[in-house]
Symmetry: C3
Subunit: 354 residues, 3 copies
């Protein structure tokens, strides 16, 4: 794809300095950019890189006016840059509308406009598919599932029966939506399966990472729910009956155990775990590799296992690091006290002698 | 699906109080239940909810006789409830028997009665499939694999060559059974692949979670073995040559390294890791996020990393939490001892002076 | 497969003692071996097992000449054994060359010699496939991807667009190569997707484990790179823009966050995490369940979270284990000091009295 600089400038609503006719073929970081690519400077520490970049043009903030090459000046260079990335990203989405001849479509399936149902796909019965949806090869959609508009489902995704997927949701390769929750009734040491007949709801603008698993709820009216705008990374486990609020981010390999609730705008970093049946207050941050074992209030910033306020955890870590030296000093202090005791006994004996 | 209350009562062998003709369309928790659904009370702390539930009928224990609405009384309400869940779960299994025209079946494949081999499946050569087996879309079954009766394989599962799957096994979406173990011979810093030519055995009533991986054993006669009744959650790693006993449960994102053995009825909680070549004694419990680094005896209850008996780990955690205050007190105590030393020197000098 | 012992001897360039005409049908560990199988002794602690093994023949080192059964003597029995495993492993790779009729091949796809493109596969446009490549059922290969010679791709693998795969790479079942990196521009609490338009490069002899995910880089010229000879286990997360050096090993369920770099010959053990934007020096070892939070120099051997040199971490662990007893002793010491203080006050008062 080739775009003229003036077209890009118009798209991001910027102010153009220099030749708007130059042609841009890609977008890169300031150090990586090659000829005919556009880059950006959002952080003042990269300003010195302007002199060295091979980029053909630069998106800059209000503080920069000259760089020896064409500029687009905007209020927020970073945000403008993301929009430019989108221009070039569409190049990759070469969607052909229609239903491939190898797609298997069940009975009573409703399909919207401008939909791409690609090769080797399987759509079961009574599925509803909105407008502008892309269903990639090797995608399985179970009975009675509803898929909103402009949803993008990557290869090898399984969406099991009765799941609801909101508008503009993206599900990455290999993700499983609606697998059985892990529930058993154990009687005389034998584990009897508790059928998992609830469902999963992914609200609009949710993104689910590659090979992530989202289990369905246990009961008829139950649903594992991921609310609007929440983004989940790869290899994350979301157990049955979990509810995740709006605009959360959950990073790779984290796990949320059954029936826990994350309120809005919670951040869970990589490899963290959250036990079942607890609530994480809104705007809280759970740092990497933490294990949260009890409710935490809104606005918390926790780490460690069991997770504590991060300042507390840092203090514990610092204390622990002082322990080896402290143990030595402690032994020395015990010795000093023993010496004092001996001397005092002596002194006392002396003084009673006298 | 609609069931009369008296039909449900008969199925769970209960005692009916009230109108057995009412129609039940689903099953839910006592708080979530809607009209025309059945619920249960197994735990006395939920008895007060009976007055508020919208459920049409309630399964109760021997201690409850009146609730203002139809009841089914049983010895174990929870276990009865699981059976009722099963009634409504079957609604979802709308299996059509036969082999779909897009299924690819190799040479010399033996297929039992009442088998459903669904669209876009691949069965290699010399595979044996028992009665009542369901093979969902996008399932791959490798050469020489044996599958028992009433096995349920969800979409996107890979079962590689020579694996043995027992009766009533359930394999959830995206699970991989029989991938190569991670074994290399490192010579002059280069890693040479050790071919993994053993196999995997899943005994009867085993359940394998979504996107879980179970590696095959290294050698000709070797097998990674998961024994009868063991249930494994999502995203778990079972390495080559591992042996897992009967009736174990392994929760999401746990990992068992090569050649380790879990005896019967071991519980491994989420995100735990067990190093290679060790044995976990029967009836042991490994708590969440633990790292087990050495053999543990039967009946252990461990946590932490390196894992210790949980009471010990709790004591360590409690001690650590006392450290910041203790370090302050320690500095104060050092000061007090220094003061004592100074005074005693003074006293001693005085007393020697006198 | 049946091989004569003398054929095996020739293949591993050994010295034969005993009957070279005997027929070998498999290869096993010394304890597990059955009749007609070959085994090996590389470690002196297994020499006593020679008397008990049922194996038909044994591969031994220069120090053993007699075992009562046929021997092949070599300089390195372990390495020779791996080669023998390879002989018997090929039995399992019953590859049929050609393109299965259910494979879907895009436009302008170049395919080398001796290639096996199996059933239910999907190859998009402009893909280049080298010689001797195996593409198993349910594999998806995206647009413009290049695949080298003798690459082996197991079932259910997704390789997204523009990825480069070197010669002799092995990708195990369910792995995802080139999924979107987890990148968002957060403006007023809403997460706006940063399109991920870079790529992934897997150099020659790389192995990627089952259900592992390797994200693509963010920008036009960027690539997540895994260099020659590196082996990655199951369920590992490699985030966008990560660079992993040559001959590294990364064990199951480890995760490497965005833009971090591992130099050559780094070992990362299971369930470890490495934060973003740091560098792990060459020949370093990161032990299991560690969390590395900052750059570590070449040749490091670290554990814990935050990861420290392992000897340091062991000292911290040992100190922590002394804490409960130490806290008791500390209370006792405080008491002793208080007693001393009281006595000294007394003595001092007495001495001033006198």
């Amino acid at each position: 794809m080739v775009k003229k600089l003036k077209e890009i400038c118009e798209f991001i609503d910027g102010e153009l300095f220099g030749d708007g006719e130059i042609e841009i073929i890609g977008v890169s970081g300031i150090k990586e950019a090659r000829e005919h690519e556009i880059t950006f400077v959002a952080n003042s520490k990269y300003i010195r890189e302007i002199a060295h970049t091979q980029a053909a043009a630069i998106i800059v903030g209000p503080d920069i006016t000259y760089a020896g090459k064409p500029l687009i000046r905007v209020a927020s260079p970073y945000f403008a840059f993301v929009k430019v990335l989108e221009i070039f990203a569409w190049r990759k989405r070469k969607t052909e509308y229609g239903i491939h001849e190898t797609a298997i479509i069940g009975q009573n399936v409703q399909i919207g406009e401008m939909v791409s149902i690609q090769a080797h796909t399987y759509i079961a019965d009574n599925v509803q598919i909105g407008d502008g949806v892309t269903i990639s090869p090797f995608v399985y959609i179970g009975d009675d599932t509803k898929i909103g508009d402009e949803v993008l489902i990557y290869p090898h995704v399984t969406i099991r029966e009765e799941v609801e997927i909101g508008d503009r949701v993206i599900v990455h390769c290999g993700a499983i939506i609606g697998s059985d929750g892990f529930g058993f009734a154990t009687v005389s040491d034998r584990h009897h399966k508790i059928p998992q007949i609830g469902t999963v709801i992914l609200e609009e603008d949710v993104e689910i990472g590659a090979n992530t698993t989202v289990d369905r709820a246990t009961m008829t009216n139950g649903a594992t729910i991921i609310k609007r705008g929440t983004k989940i990374d790869n290899l994350v486990q979301i157990a049955h009956n979990v509810v995740i609020g709006e605009d959360c981010t959950i990073t790779a390999q984290a796990g949320i155990a059954g029936s826990s609730e994350l309120k809005d705008r919670v951040t869970v970093a990589g490899q963290s775990g959250i036990v079942g049946h607890i609530t994480i207050g809104e705007d809280s941050v759970v740092l990497a590799k933490s294990g949260v074992t009890k409710d935490i209030p809104a606005g918390s910033y926790v780490s460690g296992f069991p997770a504590e306020p991060h300042t507390h955890e840092l203090r514990l870590q610092a204390s622990l690091r002082k322990m080896p030296a402290m143990l030595n000093e402690f032994a020395r202090l015990q010795q000093r006290v023993a010496t004092l005791e001996a001397k005092l006994r002596q002194t006392y004996e002396k003084s009673t002698d006298s």
